[in-house]
């Protein structure tokens, strides 16, 4: 069995256990809740039944027969309207004939007749028929409880005063009352399952790689080195089976190196006595050592393999931490903004988000500088510290300005951690695996983008904003600890060759017309839609529609799901059929079109469709955009290298994206939230059309006889 098939089985086992655990606890919860809630429902039915009964009783005391009571059904309607938990109220005669009834759904008449008969049978004889001595035998009405009646719980109360029972009042609730309540959280349970699946995948990947695949790969590499005559490496020793093997291998390598050193020392002592003999010996030994590489000075170095999966899980954790608040951040900001103004403007509400995106964009170059000097582990740990403080502070912010300060700190931490992880992967990925290593990082990031908003919404709904930010801070700290442990043993990446300063790259890129068209009509609008629509308008709009934070998180999660699963598919299609330009244009159009109907159909479903189409559209365009940058910027890449060119592209894109919440807030102030979504969509459509038309005319790369693009010239 291969390692990958073993991992698949392990993953399947984990998912099965998660499903079984969720099913088990949900089933138990249904039973436990039914056991606790039904008596409460029963008591409520009894309270309401007795109150209604008392009113009917009063009419009977005035001598009005039940058949002649006016407006009873309407009265029943008023009672039921005030309480959605109850299904019906029915008044029957002693013979079970229905006199008055009201309800959303009702039991069959014969069922009511049977229930009436059963109730009358339970009564003391004195109450069942005309009796002269009713007062002596009190009627045990408090002991009456609801009983199942078809699809309902039915409580039957005799109506009557004095000598005889004139009829029976039936009060009913849906038998599926508790199940309905459990069903209301099924979406949340399903969300937990999706998130658990992604988290399971990430953690198992890390554990299997860290404790099995990487140690075995290391063992194989060192064994293969020994088989090739290279005796210069030892292995890190762990406390498991691979550790035992590593210890033995180290023993072997160290013993051979020690023996070799001993001979060299003895040969050296000969040198002083008889140099001629020593030279002869040296030649002989050199021939003997041929084909073997020994450790310098007999000290073998530990063999290290970069833990790219560690970097992936660290990425997953810190993005998870920062995304946890994504689905409710504007709602949280609104709480603080309300302290400044009774009805805060959308612009004020958008400030914390704008400050975050802007700081993150501006901190990236600083983080890159720090990475080059301090290495990935330290940069990541510093970022984790900043983010932990920032998130904890955000949850405990004392006022709106404090909130802004904490968001700045969080964003700086985010930039440090992002750059540390991305640069670590780039620096340590084998040259032939650069693309797949990059995908490893992006997948961790996307998985967290799915999990964060959804789980954040659920947590905020149940434990509140502050505790959710506390959880996010803990996650960020865990990411820092993990990175410290997993990335610290790695060697520092070699400092990159000095290139011309970034200003030169930016000047070269901004002088490229095609690049500017790509930035203005594709890259910046894509980030603008993401930050403006998904992160700002969606929470506020859905909140206005009355959706809970869990529901907002679920809707936001759809974007990540579409991007995670469709992104690689579209990337492969684009590479295979060279469809990069087409996919960027079509993706931009689709993302924009999805938002337009929201103004005309201002419902949760409309927003959900917009989020889904945005996810699909951006899955089509994001990776193709990157490919276009490398094609359009071929000359600057040759001149400055790929890193600085892509870095500049990211910087301009992020700075443009930072304006997203501001633009969306400005539009929302004028047109309201649904109107702002539609106009943002229109903006997306217009820019995507301009992009498509421009590139249809210009082409992606200049023709051989076209040295300068028309716009640049």
């Amino acid at each position: 069995m291969t390692v990958s098939s073993r991992f698949t089985r392990l993953f399947t086992l984990t998912l099965s256990l998660i499903i079984a655990a969720l099913a088990g606890i949900s089933l138990y919860a249904a039973l436990a809740l039914e056991r606790s809630l039904i008596p409460q429902l029963d008591q409520k039915m009894l309270t309401m039944g007795l109150t209604v009964n008392a009113k009917l009783d009063r009419a009977l005391r005035y001598g009005i027969p039940l058949e002649r009571l006016p407006g009873v059904a309407d009265f029943f309607g008023t009672v039921l309207a005030a309480d959605p938990d109850l299904a019906y109220l029915v008044l029957t005669r002693r013979d079970g004939t229905v006199l008055y009834q009201y309800g959303t759904s009702l039991p069959k008449p014969e069922q009511l007749a049977d229930a009436t008969a059963a109730t009358l049978k339970m009564l003391p004889a004195s109450q069942g028929a005309a009796s002269a001595d009713s007062a002596k035998e009190p009627w045990p009405i408090q002991a009456l409880t609801a009983r199942p009646l078809g699809d309902f719980y039915n409580l039957a109360l005799p109506v009557g005063s004095g000598e005889a029972v004139a009829g029976v009042l039936h009060i009913g609730a849906d038998a599926g009352f508790v199940i309905q309540k459990i069903q209301e959280i099924l979406f949340d349970i399903a969300t937990v399952f999706v998130i658990a699946t992604l988290v399971a995948f990430e953690l198992l990947l890390l554990i299997v790689h860290h404790y099995l695949i990487t140690p075995i790969n290391r063992l194989e590499m060192v064994l293969s080195h020994i088989a090739d005559g290279n005796l210069s490496h030892t292995l890190p020793v762990s406390r498991d089976e691979t550790g035992w093997l590593a210890r033995l291998l180290n023993q072997l390598v160290e013993r051979l190196n020690a023996a070799h050193q001993q001979i060299l020392r003895q040969a050296a002592s000969l040198q002083s006595a008889t140099p001629v003999a020593a030279n002869r010996l040296s030649t002989s030994l050199a021939q003997l050592w041929r084909g073997f590489t020994l450790a310098p000075e007999g000290r073998p170095a530990p063999y290290q393999l970069a833990d790219l999966f560690g970097a992936r899980v660290a990425t997953f954790l810190f993005i998870f931490a920062v995304e946890l608040s994504q689905s409710f951040l504007p709602l949280y900001a609104r709480v603080y903004a309300t302290d400044l103004s009774d009805s805060p403007t959308p612009l004020l509400i958008s400030l914390p988000l704008t400050v975050f995106t802007l700081t993150a964009a501006l901190s990236m170059p600083l983080a890159g500088w720090r990475f080059e000097r301090a290495g990935s582990s330290r940069t990541f740990t510093e970022g984790a510290l900043l983010m932990t403080l920032g998130l904890a502070g955000t949850g405990l912010a004392w006022d709106f300005y404090g909130l802004l300060v904490w968001r700045v700190l969080t964003a700086a931490g985010y930039a440090f951690m992002y750059v540390a992880c991305q640069s670590y992967v780039v620096a340590h990925a084998p040259p032939q695996k650069q693309a797949s290593s990059g995908a490893l990082f992006v997948s961790g990031l996307m998985a967290a983008t799915i999990c964060g908003p959804a789980i954040g919404g659920i947590l905020a709904d149940h434990i509140g904003y502050t505790a959710t930010f506390g959880c996010a801070a803990i996650l960020a700290a865990c990411a820092g600890l993990m990175a410290f442990r997993l990335l610290s043993a790695e060697p520092m990446p070699a400092p990159p060759p000095r290139r011309p300063v970034r200003g030169g790259v930016v000047r070269a890129m901004t002088g490229n017309g095609r690049f500017m068209l790509l930035m203005l009509f594709a890259a910046i609008p894509a980030k603008l839609l993401l930050n403006g629509f998904l992160f700002f308008l969606v929470p506020l709009t859905l909140s206005e529609f009355g959706d809970s934070r869990s529901e907002i998180g679920r809707v936001a999660m759809l974007y990540g799901l579409a991007a995670l699963f469709l992104g690689p598919v579209f990337a492969r299609l684009a590479d295979r059929f060279a469809l990069h330009g087409l996919l960027v244009g079509a993706g931009g159009l689709l993302a924009g079109i999805g938002l337009i109907p929201v103004f005309f159909f201002p419902t949760t479903t409309g927003v959900l469709a917009g989020v889904l189409l945005l996810g699909i559209g951006q899955a089509m365009s994001i990776s193709s955009q990157l490919a276009l940058v490398t094609r359009i910027g071929r000359a600057p890449i040759e001149q400055f290298g790929q890193g600085p060119v892509l870095g500049s592209y990211r910087l301009i894109e992020r700075l443009g994206g930072a304006s997203g919440p501001l633009v969306a807030a400005g539009l929302a102030a004028v047109f309201g939230y649904p109107g702002a979504i539609t106009i943002t969509g229109l903006l997306g459509v217009v820019t995507a059309t301009l992009f498509s038309v421009s590139f249809l005319i210009l082409g992606i790369e200049p023709e051989p006889d076209d040295e300068l693009s028309p716009i640049a010239s």
Binding site: L10, I25, L41, K44, S224
Partner: protein, 275 residues
């Protein structure tokens, strides 16, 4: 390794169960509170309707003689009702029913803030307030000219309410722990079985390597198995043996040169051949 993988799976299942318990409990709490509050609100509204009927006839709240009887009758619906108080617009208690359960320890007086909250309520919707001991439902009494002339507050035993919630939470946590233990055991067993062959492979290679280190003169080990790792171990063993041969040769040449140089005594060669 099985322990570490099982621990990871256990943490994951604990995370899932924790969230499921949290959501189910939150739903239960909301439903339970909703049922209780709507029941108490219905009782209070019915009482208000009865009292306002008297007000509509022009009676002064303080002069409605049957109020105490009405309160007692309503309180009889539920033994957990601690008290029902009717007060005027100045906040003075006019009538109060108090449960017999409270006889040795009278219920704490209503604070002016609660009375104020009820009196200032513009709507006819009952107000829900709570303190560590009681749940309170209050509603204003409004005469037929639309003026608030007083209010009524029903106080309900909170210990019963809290006990139900705690019991359900305890049951859910206990069930989750049992599921977690069962799932962890299944995970441990399955992981152990799943990685048994890997462990066996590693053990075979380890035995072969130990054997080689203890007895370096013997031929290549037959225990190592047929995995990639085993094949590499055999190759590494052969190369090590080859290097040992060279070390022996190097030793011999060294001794020879030393003897020629007059440094080493005869017979010392054998001592240095072993590595």
């Amino acid at each position: 390794m099985p322990v570490k993988i099982t621990a990871t799976i256990t943490v994951l299942i604990a995370f899932v169960l924790g969230l499921a318990v949290l959501m189910n409990y939150a739903k239960f709490e909301r439903t339970f509170n909703g049922l209780m509050q709507s029941r108490l609100a219905f009782l209070v509204q019915d009482l208000r309707d009865t009292l306002e009927f008297g007000l509509d006839l022009g009676l002064d709240p303080a002069a409605m003689a049957n109020t105490a009887a009405i309160l007692t009758r309503e309180a009889a619906h539920d033994p957990h009702i601690l008290s029902i108080s009717v007060f005027n617009e100045q906040g003075h208690i006019l009538y109060q029913y108090q449960s017999k359960l409270l006889d040795p320890h009278p219920v704490t007086p209503l604070t002016p803030a609660w009375l104020e909250t009820v009196l200032q309520t513009a709507s006819k919707t009952p107000q829900h307030i709570s303190d560590p001991e009681t749940l309170m439902v209050g509603i204003p009494l409004i005469n037929n000219f639309g003026r608030t002339v007083g209010g009524l507050i029903l106080r309900y035993d909170r210990s019963f309410h809290d006990q139900e919630l705690q019991q359900t939470l305890f049951n859910l946590i206990r069930a989750a722990l049992l599921i977690l233990i069962a799932a962890s055991l299944v995970a441990l067993l399955s992981v152990w079985l799943l990685f048994r062959s890997t462990r066996r492979e590693l053990r075979q290679v380890r035995i072969a390597l130990e054997d080689f280190l203890e007895n370096q003169q013997r031929p290549a080990s037959p225990h190592a198995g047929d995995s990639v790792l085993a094949a590499l171990e055999v190759a590494a063993e052969q190369k090590s043996r080859e290097f040992q041969q060279r070390l022996i040769l190097a030793n011999r040449i060294l001794r020879l040169e030393q003897r020629l140089a007059g440094q080493a005594p005869h017979g010392s060669e054998r001592q240095h051949e072993g590595v």
